[in-house]
Each structure stands twice: as C-alpha cells, then as structure tokens.
Amino acid sequence: MTTQVEYWRWTESRYTNPEVDWRKASTITAGIDVGSVSSKAAVMADNEILAYGLMRTGSNSPDSALNAINRAIEGTGLTMKDIKFIVGTGYGRINIPFAGKAITEIACHARGANYIWGPVVRTILDMGGQDCKAIHCDEKGKVTAFLMNDKCAAGTGRGMEVFADLLQVPITQVGEMSLQVDKEPPPVSSTCVVFAKSEGIGLLRQGWSKNMVLAAYCSAMAHRVVTLLERIGMEKEFVLTGGISKNIGVVSRLEKELGIQAVPLPKDQKFDPQLAGAIGGALFARDLLAKSRKAF
C-alpha cells in the first residue's frame, strides 16, 4: 500500500543572486507559489531575481507561504516590510494573507517560463506529481490557451509511481532503465493507471523484463501527454517542467513522437525550473505595483 510519496527527491534550498544589490533597487516584489508538495518564493529587485526559497509544504498554506518567503530573504538583510507587493499562486494561493493578489498557477507558470527560457517559448508542458498542465503562450508570456489535468493520474508522476512500485524500481531510475531495451515494445494500451497496472502484471507473467515493461509504460505516458498538447495547439518551441521532465525515458519518447526537441535550459540559467510559478508571480507583482503607482 503506497501513501502519498513525492515523485522526485529534492531538497529544501535557497539562493541569493550575488550580482544584485537590493538597496539600489527601486521596487522589490515577490511571488509565492504554494503547491501541494513544495512551496516556493521568489524575490525580485526591479528586473532581477534577488533570492528564492524552496520548501516543503506544511499542513497549511499561510505557514507554508511564510516559511518559503522567510527562507528566501534569509541572510539578504531584507525584511518583509521591504517587499512592496506579493502575488500568491499555486493551489494554496487564496490562503496567503500577506499576498496582495492571487493569480492562477497557469498564468504565473507561463510568465516565469518566459523569463527563464526567453521569449521564444510558445508551449509549456508541466508534468507534476499529481497534475499535468499544458500552456500555450505568446512572446510576452501571456497565456493563449491552457488546460490542466488534475483529475486523472495517467500522465502524472503518480501514475509513474504506481509502475515503479509494481516493479520495485526506484523512481529516479525508471527513465534510464526504460531505454535499456533491444527493441522498443508497443506502448501499454490502457490509459487508466489501474488497468495499465494489471496490463503490466500480465506482461511480466508473459516473461517481459522489467525494462521492457517500463519502456512500454514510458511510451504510453509520452503518447498521453502528446494528446494533451494537441488540444492546446502545439508550437515548435516547447519546454518541459515538473518531475517527469527529469525522466529521460518519457522525455526522449515524447520528443520522438513530436519530432522536435524541447528547448534546453539556457546555460547561464541558475534558477531551478521548479521556480517558474514563483518567478512569474514576482513579475506580475512588479507590474501590478507599477500600475498602482501610475494611478496616483
């Protein structure tokens, strides 16, 4: 019996950008993304990321948000008072008392991806532990179409976990192992994770190796995700975020099926793509602040 397990191992962390002096900045804003597993805060000084914090989500959203922002400003000399505007995002966004506005994770994620990867990005696929988001955006990072699937476990990290459990394979090795096959097997035919699992058991009985079964499931998952992308309109420049983007078995098959490669993370990029939502939130906060100042 599995309880809620996190899809990819990660550690709580923080970062300060040594090249930015916040004392010289005219505006300081922040974005806080309270997700179901991790809570992230990004602090921006004018146009630059000043610091971020990445923490485990606790039992309630306000505390998780506070934890993340405190971790981000730790050691920077900043206090909460210095942050002029905060945008909350993620599933816990409406429960962040010190956020001036709540914005959906879809809009924030697109905005953050645009910042991290640059304006070429048109399609973003975020495959998390419990949901899957597909977003299409313009060169400014504004959303033009989106869908979010958090109803069905197929195409999420949870689905992959079920298979890793079944085969008693560490989740982080699934991708590699699935590529060690002589011949690419046909994908598992059931979309439903429950039925796919029975199918997997059947394949093992027929004498398939673990690697073959994993290959069949990784390719089923890649196919599943392609159908989600088709719905929002797929454009050439696409990026991958979220846990499954670290699964080479799914990513390589996805790229093969689409016939194009995901845009790699820029070399000089120091931000974990997990931060995209928080960064997008900080950017929204900056714009909202500028707008409200103009109004006076």
């Binding site: 019996m1 599995t2 309880t3 809620q4 419990q130 109803k151 069905c152 476990a153 949870r158 689905g159 079920v162 059931s190 979309t191 439903c192 994770v193 429950v194 039925f195 059947g202 009985r205």
Partner: protein
C-alpha cells in the same frame, strides 16, 4: 432446446445452461490471464453440474469483453444486448438496466422484449466501475465483501473529492489517518461511485422498473447509495452476476 450463454468478463467468466426457459446449471470461474482457458473451464463445470456433455448443447452464445476468445461458441453478442435480454427474461417490467461489473458500468434502456433502445457506458476508467470499490477496500484494509455492511452503519455523509481511483486511494488513506470512521469512508466511497453510475443511467433516461445487475449489485452499500441518487426503487435479481450469461443463453434459444 438446450442452450448455453457464456459471459467472459474482465474478472470472472459466467456460464448459464438453459433448457426451455429453465436454468439447468450455472458456473463462475476467475478469468485470470487466459480468457479462452477460463471459458472452457467454466463451461465444463456447468456441463458437469447439469449432467450433460458438450454435444447436448445445441447452441452456445458468448458475450462480455472477452467474448471473441470463446472458440467453441456458435455466435457472440454484445454485453448490452445480453444484459437487456437477461434482465427482461427475469423481470418483464425491466425498462432500465444498470450493469456494474469490475471494469465497466452500463446503463441500458430496453423495450418489453429485451431489445436495447439506448445505452451509455463507463469504460476504461476504473473510477466508474467495481474496481474502484475494490481498490478502496484495499486502501482502508476492509474485505471487499464487508464494504457494503460497513457503509450502512455510517452516521455521517462526507465527500470524497478525488474522481480518480488512484488519487482517491491517497485520499481515503489520509481520511483513515485523520481518524475518520471506516463506516463513513465506506459510505463516501459508495456515494462516489454511485454518483457516477447514476449520471450515466440518466443519459439513457431512467424508467421503472430499474434492474441492477452485475457483481457489484451484491454490495448493499452501493445499492443504498444508488437508490438515494436515483430517488427510485431498484430491483435486484437473486443472482445478479449471471444475468449477462443468462441473456446470451436466451438469445441462443431464440
């Protein structure tokens, strides 16, 4: 005339042998991984019970998801056709037939002769069929057979938010951790699945008599939830899991 109906479901194979409108024998075996073999086994078992041999059977009609794997069948018919025919054979007033099996749920509207007028299916998603209850019973460590009784003792209605069997599993586990009583959780599980089944039945238009068939019909907790959802009385035949096979045998005889 002696005929046989074989219903090869995803979980069990059912056989009914019929002579001039009277049931001579019935059998049930687990499908396992080889449907063809399970069908042969179930057929042999029913023959033995009836004291007959294969050549005494004039016609064999197969139905169910694995119907094509029955090599000795004379003919095969769809699940919905067999369900409707079987339900009307048992209860001539049946107009809506709801069949909830392990992997599929079906809502069928039928005419007085057991001919299908319309149907809707919940398939390929475990959240809409018996598998859901089974997975949840494992998650809360209650025997599947005990789920029904348990849920009838519930004192509180609580919602189950997840609409997916996989996510619901985590949800019920956290409910158990939060010390929610298993009675209430069992009821929430049955409410969840019956809600989905009722929605599907409404698509074909619910009319009396409503007959519930399939293995899940034996689950009293599910039946109570479904009655609440449909706000109607539901008739359940004595051997609800055999209705599809019976329907196939009836079709074979006509």
């Amino acid at each position: 005339m002696i005929t046989a109906g074989i219903d090869v479901g995803s979980k069990t194979v059912k056989v009914v042998i019929l002579q001039d409108g009277k049931i001579l024998a019935r059998s049930l075996v687990l499908t396992g991984f080889e449907q063809g073999k399970a069908a042969e086994e179930a057929f042999a078992l029913a023959l033995k019970q009836a004291g007959l041999s294969a050549k005494d059977i004039q016609k064999v009609v197969a139905t169910g998801a694995g119907r094509t794997s029955v090599s000795f069948a004379t003919e095969s018919v769809s699940d919905v056709a067999a369900d409707a025919r079987g339900a009307v054979f048992i209860n001539p007033n049946a107009r809506t037939v709801i069949d909830v099996g392990a992997e599929e749920g079906r809502g069928i509207s039928t005419d007085t002769r057991g001919k299908v007028i319309d149907f809707a299916v919940n398939e390929r998603c475990a959240a809409g069929a018996g598998t859901f209850t089974e997975a949840m019973s494992r998650a809360i460590e209650v025997k599947l057979e005990d789920m029904g009784e348990l849920s009838l003792k519930s004192t509180q209605e609580i919602p189950l938010n997840a609409q997916c069997a996989v996510f619901a599993e985590s949800e019920v586990v956290s409910l158990v951790h939060a010390k929610t009583s298993k009675e209430d959780i069992a009821r929430a599980i049955h409410d969840g699945i019956s809600n989905r089944i009722a929605a599907m039945a409404r698509r074909v238009g619910v009319q009396n008599d409503i007959v519930l068939i399939g293995g899940v019909a034996r689950n009293k907790g599910f039946v109570a939830s479904l009655k609440r959802q449909l706000e109607a009385d539901i008739k359940i035949p004595d051997e609800p899991e055999y209705v599809g096979a019976l329907g196939a045998a009836v079709i074979a005889a006509s």
